[in-house]
Amino acid sequence: MSEENNRVLKISILRFDPNDPEDFPHMETFEIEEAYGMTLFVALNEIREHHDNSLKFDFVCRAGICGSCSMLVNGKPTLACRTLTKTLGESITLAPLPLFELIGDLSIYTGKWMRGMNERLETWIHTEEGTLNVDKLEERMEPALADEIYELDRCIECGCCVAGCGTIQMNKDFVGAVGLNKIARYHLDPRDKRSEDDYYEIVGDEDGVFGCMTLLGCEDVCPKDLPLQSKIAYLRRMMVKNAY
């Protein structure tokens, strides 16, 4: 464990309460003493406990697993819970992720956006009804394929890729890398019985795979290091192949 760093951090936070008609978006700066091993989770809780207990932000697992605490840290979408303050300068700027509904301060409503996307793309396994007998041995799957599916299943719907996406800035209906990654995941899964045509219906347009401008923002900011760009390219190639 490394030595303690007793810096005084100046944390500037975008404040705004949309429930308060008098309020307007503004920056507010808090000074706190840095502690060993301090993450933004620890820092924000300290601010709420000792400086301003109306400060709104979201953490659930605080371990980089649940995806609740994504925000702009010095302008970059990332998970605040696992961002160590020692990796940042003395002045830190925090703002809520753009594009999602704002609840207040750093708290955003990603759930609503994700649910809309999931319903639109039907991001569940499409099996034939009545094909499961829970008493019988499970269907076999090649171990390597199971691993490959899990690789794409690791997405935590944190919204960083959406916030980092240039296309969504111009086209609010774009499903984002998070959506396209899910389609790639189901396409890979032999348990999902959707045809190539079905997938084309869902993402074969400019709101889907052909909308992507390949700016690579999504992959740059993905906290789970998902191979988003190669999956979008894969889907695009598959769509084109299917069209001929």
Partner: protein, 661 residues
């Protein structure tokens, strides 16, 4: 006044709640799920290691079946479990895992041929059968005789939760996010739903339902250092307790996980030790074989946690500014294994400690982890005392874990209990019993009461700081109601907690917004957490024995003669400042597995006279049936029938390679 009517209200959107919702929906009932956060953020997602189900596919799982899973679970529980419930559970776990596979969980699979594993610090080669290729594989976990813990890399909870939530979407379950259930609507001994608060707008809504299910997880956040997500504050148990009618069971049974990282308390999965990781002291010495020569690092969680604490007390811990800790060494597993099967662990080490676990040892210590206690239910998941209220998952004391839960049995419980309770609730909703007899004025009164409580909190001036009360509560539990307990400390804890509880009636909320206001929810949650803290500390003080995770230094024996019973806690009068405690006997006369020695350390059990009687009866039945060539299922049925309790669709025999395939 806004009222939403539905058939089944489910409070909590983790694995258990979603499985109940999906199940009742399939049976044709409407379901609404209230959840603090989007369901995919639930604490279920944090389960890394795996889900126990006796599939017996992989080499080291060969020969596994329900009987062995049952026996491990009962021993693990230190005979505190309800054996019928445990039987129902082990019978249905393989079905639940196969259902999840059908719903898309990419379970890690068996690969035919040779692979290397680390067992007891030695590299061994294991050969997998051809016929098992492509079936779901399993890893080793503490307290299990066979490798039974099925997993997806080390993101098991994540992949299960995502599949489950997707399935709930598919079934068009209504999910109302950022809703906090504030109180249950109770009339004439029956629960009719809940008053809920929208955490974004502050609006109060009455959800009225035939059946209400609490599936809100555990209450670990009453401790200062916990592996639990920060939303695991026990609010489900608290609102049940506040009805004055529903009861809580075994609240003092708190599990500590051996290997959370220091200082933040984030978990590294038991899979680390299951896969061959070792515990080392300040000298780099592997101490567990000295204490537990047989199971070593893979003894039950409560046992390993206590051994680690004992070893630290001998001065063998590593000094740090956060107190002493020990080391978890997974370097021997090799980088390839860590990067594939323990990747979350690797990420946690990199992000929170700045170390590489393929090279460096991980600083760990036992940390609050699981709540065996919860809302006391019958085997159907229904409260014993409040009709129409159900509970399942960690929120409940369904009681298959008794006083200590085995790793991998909790995510398993969420889906198995969810699957079963959904059927019992559906049966209830199908029956005449479920018709509602509540006057709308009662609902109105319940809403107004909740409104008035919030008004009063916001109006209070010059009162106590909820943050200060809460921090003190957390410290007291950690210091005085921890891994090792004693009468003196527990009495101090109870006294001070009662004092804090009284003070909490006078909390001042400085931020005044009714809408999204973290100070407001911290205030009312602190009041409720203090009630739960009292149930834990008081239950621990009264229980003068050691059983499972409850370890009294002044009463080191497990005292079956006096304490083979569940602690039942209630809060009948809102004005009382201490919980009411009573007990429920755990009858030996119908046990399939009468109380015996758990197999760790010296046998310190003070036996119950009925144990020997029942053991003789069990032995006689077994001998007679074995002579007649009966199957293991027939013998089991003669010892303790349980199949009739299960919904018909889940009574079938589980297929396994080698057994009946």
């Amino acid at each position: 006044m806004k009222i939403i009517y539905t058939d089944v209200l489910i409070i909590g959107g983790g694995l258990a709640g979603l499985r109940v919702a999906t199940g009742v929906k399939e049976r044709g009932h409407d379901a609404v799920v209230l959840t603090l956060v989007p369901p995919k953020r639930s604490h279920s997602s944090a389960a890394q290691g795996g889900m126990q189900a006796s599939l017996a596919n992989c080499n080291m799982g060969e020969g596994d079946n329900e009987d062995i899973h049952f026996s491990d679970t009962i021993k693990g529980s230190d005979w505190g479990a309800d054996q019928e419930v445990a039987r129902m559970f082990v019978h249905c776990a393989p079905k639940a895992i196969r259902e999840l596979a059908h719903w898309g969980v990419p379970w890690t699979r068996v690969h035919r041929g040779d692979h290397n594993a680390i067992i007891n610090a030695k590299k061994v080669t294991i050969t997998e059968k051809d016929e098992a290729h492509g079936l779901i594989t399993a890893r080793d976990f503490g307290g299990t005789k066979k490798w039974r813990t099925c997993y997806t890399s080390d993101g098991t909870g994540h992949s299960m939760l995502y599949a489950m939530d997707n399935q709930a979407h598919k079934e068009k379950v209504e999910i109302h996010e950022r809703q906090e259930a504030m109180s249950l609507i109770v009339d004439d001994g029956r629960c009719y739903g809940a008053i809920s608060r929208n955490l974004m707008t502050g609006e109060l809504v009455a959800y009225v339902a035939k059946a209400t299910t609490i599936a809100t997880g555990g209450y670990g956040r009453i401790y200062s250092v916990s592996t639990n997500a920060i939303i695991c504050q026990g609010m489900g148990q608290a609102i049940a307790l506040e009805t004055g009618v529903a009861t809580l069971g075994n609240m003092e049974a708190i599990q500590f996980h051996p290997t959370a990282i220091v200082p933040v308390g984030i978990l590294t999965t038991e899979g680390c030790r299951g896969d061959g990781g070792l515990l080392l002291d300040k000298d780099g010495y592997r101490f567990m074989p000295d204490y537990e020569p047989e199971k070593k690092e893979l003894a039950s969680r409560d046992v390993v946690s206590r051994r680690m604490t004992e070893h630290i007390r001998k001065g063998k811990g590593v000094k740090s500014r956060y107190g002493d800790h020990l080391w978890l060494d997974i370097t021997i597993l090799g980088r390839e294994h860590i990067e594939k099967n323990l990747r979350e662990v690797k990420e946690i080490c990199e992000n929170f400690l700045g170390i590489d676990p393929a090279v460096d040892w991980i600083p760990v210590r036992p940390t609050q982890h699981y709540s065996m206690g919860g809302i006391r239910t019958k085997y159907t998941g229904e409260s014993q005392t409040l009709k129409g209220l159900y509970s399942c998952g960690e929120a409940a004391c369904w009681d298959m874990h008794g006083f200590n839960r085995l790793g991998g049995n909790s995510v398993s419980e969420t889906v198995v209990a969810g699957m079963l309770v959904a059927e019992y609730i559906s049966d209830f909703c199908d029956s005449h019993e479920s018709s509602m007899h509540i006057h709308s004025s009662k609902i109105e009164i319940a809403l107004k009461e909740e409104n008035a409580k919030i008004d009063a909190l916001l109006a209070n001036e010059n009162g106590e700081s909820a943050f200060k009360l809460r921090r003190r509560m957390e410290e007291i539990l950690m210091d005085k109601v921890g891994i090792f307990r004693n009468g003196e400390d527990l009495q101090d804890a109870v006294n001070e907690l009662e004092e804090l509880y009284k003070r909490s009636k006078n909390i001042e909320v400085t931020a005044k917004s009714r809408a999204a206001n973290p100070a407001l929810f911290n205030a009312y949650r602190t009041q409720r957490m203090l009630k739960l803290a009292l149930t834990v500390a008081y239950g621990a003080l009264l229980r003068t024995e050691s059983r499972g995770a409850h370890s009294r230094e002044d009463y080191p024996s497990r005292d079956d003669a006096n304490w083979l019973k569940r602690t039942i806690t209630s809060w009948p009068d809102p004005e009382q400042t201490m919980p009411s405690v009573s007990y429920e006997d755990i009858p030996i006369s119908n046990m399939e597995m009468p109380p015996g020695f758990r197999g760790y350390g010296k046998d310190m059990t003070e036996a119950h006279p009925d144990s020997r009687v029942r053991q003789s009866a069990v032995d006689a039945i077994r001998e007679k049936f074995e002579k007649e060539g009966a199957s293991r299922q027939e013998i089991q049925n003669a010892l303790m029938p349980f199949l009739d309790k299960l919904p018909k669709k889940y009574r079938g025999t589980n297929e396994r390679l080698g057994e009946n395939v």
